[in-house]
């Protein structure tokens, strides 16, 4: 079975068009009927929300009169995720194949390559790959730099950036696939999802694999392509094994869930299986926290980052996340006190569900999972001796 990262050694440069076609065969001509194949494949989005790709394509296609827009989402704003930029850098033609299929299936007028501004290698590789494509494909495509911010990868943020030049996300309806760029139905799809689409078009079914990034306390941190259902323990093993006895795992990136390492080990890495357990793989980051690092300080650091990534659109997010981050930092620095802990709990509950976008919800879920997974670590936290900077 073909996999996403098959082909030439990843240490080598990007795979060119000739090599790509030789390896996989030409991209089959497919129009709207391909959407049925996609629905049957059961492919779900790989950007984090795991929304069924086929349904999204159906919705956009139904509203498109040759007016739709396809946004190829390579923003990858998640700090510890590397898989999207690896794919863009090494297998750009898979992504462009997927984008081309999407453009035909939903009868799109434009295709926008939305690539993180700091992912330089990925942008270069995609630009070079695009230059190799046929004229009629190239004419549709333009490239836009996604700002290096956490929220830039949200589909509404991508639409706002293309429309207004500022990547602010919102949750207010209508969604991008109803009214996106210039009011046209817009298909925003993650690059890994589109690469899967390219293979589905050739084989009729998904590869059954997914890309994950193993980060933190492992010997060979980086991107892995694993079979769905692979356990966390096996993925960590594939990443060279834990560098020191791990304490905790952060599953799914900064909007993900904290787990005690022992509880995480046996979990199958699969969107559906995790959702059934109330968990999410998000954008596929498996963060392993080594026992030498303090979980409270890690949580405080990530909360500070998330607070500073607020777009200042609404008060609960901007002021709420800052206050939460400050309370975390206070506990990390000065040691636990019941007042700060109580505030953390109250503010988390109050901020949740009151943002203009999902950013505060994601941040609060992250914090709440930390508080429920590590109640003793938070309650018993001692002040760290501050080392001179």
């Amino acid at each position: 079975m073909t996999r996403l990262l098959d082909g030439r050694d990843l240490a080598l440069g990007p795979e060119g068009l000739a090599e790509h076609v030789q390896r996989l065969g030409p991209l089959p001509a497919a129009g709207r009927s391909f959407i049925d194949v996609l629905v049957r494949s059961g492919l779900s989005g790989r950007g984090g929300a795991a929304y069924p790709a086929g349904l999204k394509w159906q919705s956009v296609a139904a509203q498109s009169n040759g007016t739709a827009v396809v946004i190829v989402n390579g923003a990858e704003g998640e700090p510890r995720s590397l898989k999207d930029r690896l794919l863009m850098t090494k297998r750009p033609h898979l992504i462009l194949d997927g984008a081309s299929l999407a453009a035909r299936a939903v009868r799109a007028k434009h295709v926008v390559l939305y690539i993180g501004e700091e992912h330089h290698a990925a942008r270069e590789s995609m630009a070079r790959a695009l230059a190799e494509r046929k004229d009629e494909e190239r004419r549709l495509v333009r490239t836009v730099a996604a700002p290096a911010r956490y929220v830039a990868g949200a589909s509404s943020a991508a639409v706002h950036l293309v429309d207004d030049g500022i990547a602010t996300p919102t949750t207010a309806p209508p969604s991008a696939h109803e009214r996106g760029v210039d009011g046209a139905p817009t298909l925003v799809q993650n690059v890994e999802t589109l690469a899967q689409v390219a293979l589905i078009a050739r084989t009729g079914s998904s590869t059954g694999t997914l890309l994950v990034t193993v980060a933190g306390g492992v010997l060979r941190p980086g991107v892995l392509e694993i079979q769905a259902q692979t356990t966390v323990a096996a993925a960590v093993e594939l990443a060279g094994g834990a560098s020191e006895p791990p304490d905790a795992v952060l599953l799914g990136g900064y909007f993900g869930t904290w787990m005690k390492a022992a509880n995480a080990w046996g979990l199958p890495l699969d969107h559906d299986a995790l959702r059934a357990r109330g968990l999410s793989l998000g954008c596929g980051v498996i963060g392993v926290l080594p026992s030498s690092r303090c979980v409270v300080c890690e949580v405080a650091g990530i909360m500070r980052y998330l607070a500073s990534e607020s777009s200042a659109q609404c008060g609960p997010c901007f002021f709420g996340l800052r206050a939460l981050a400050d309370a975390c930092t206070a506990i990390a620095e000065r040691g636990a006190n019941s007042e700060d802990l109580q505030r953390l709990r109250r503010w988390s509950a109050e901020v949740s569900g009151r943002g203009a976008c999902h950013h505060p919800d994601g941040a609060v879920m992250f914090l709440q999972s930390a508080l429920t997974t590590f109640p003793d670590e938070f309650a018993g936290h001692r002040a760290h001796l501050r080392l001179s900077a």
Partner: protein
Amino acid sequence: MKPNSTPLSKVSGCSQGRFSGRVNTGAMNGNTQDRIRARDAAFRLLNRLTTGAAVGALAGVGVFGAVSASTIPGITTTSQSASTTTSTSTSTGTSTSTGLGSSSTPVNSASSGSGVVVSGGT
């Protein structure tokens, strides 16, 4: 840095300053019953103030009218003929009454039916 202590966080959680946060803790979060009472009291106050202002304003029209009448009462002349009426303006010394004089001619002739001309001073 040892590779095995790679943090998950992008920024440090315990060696940074604070966000300049503004917190006005619980300013509005008293007991709901107290807040309902405060609202109802404020509505009563609003009604009283509005009524007071209305009464005051009406009285003000009276008072200011009376004051204006006592300071510059104007002069009422009863005109006998429709042709020429002498309208007398009370001069306050600083004003010019030319505008009144010129424009009042048609006015006077038109209003002569009543026989009463009120001439406003300047």
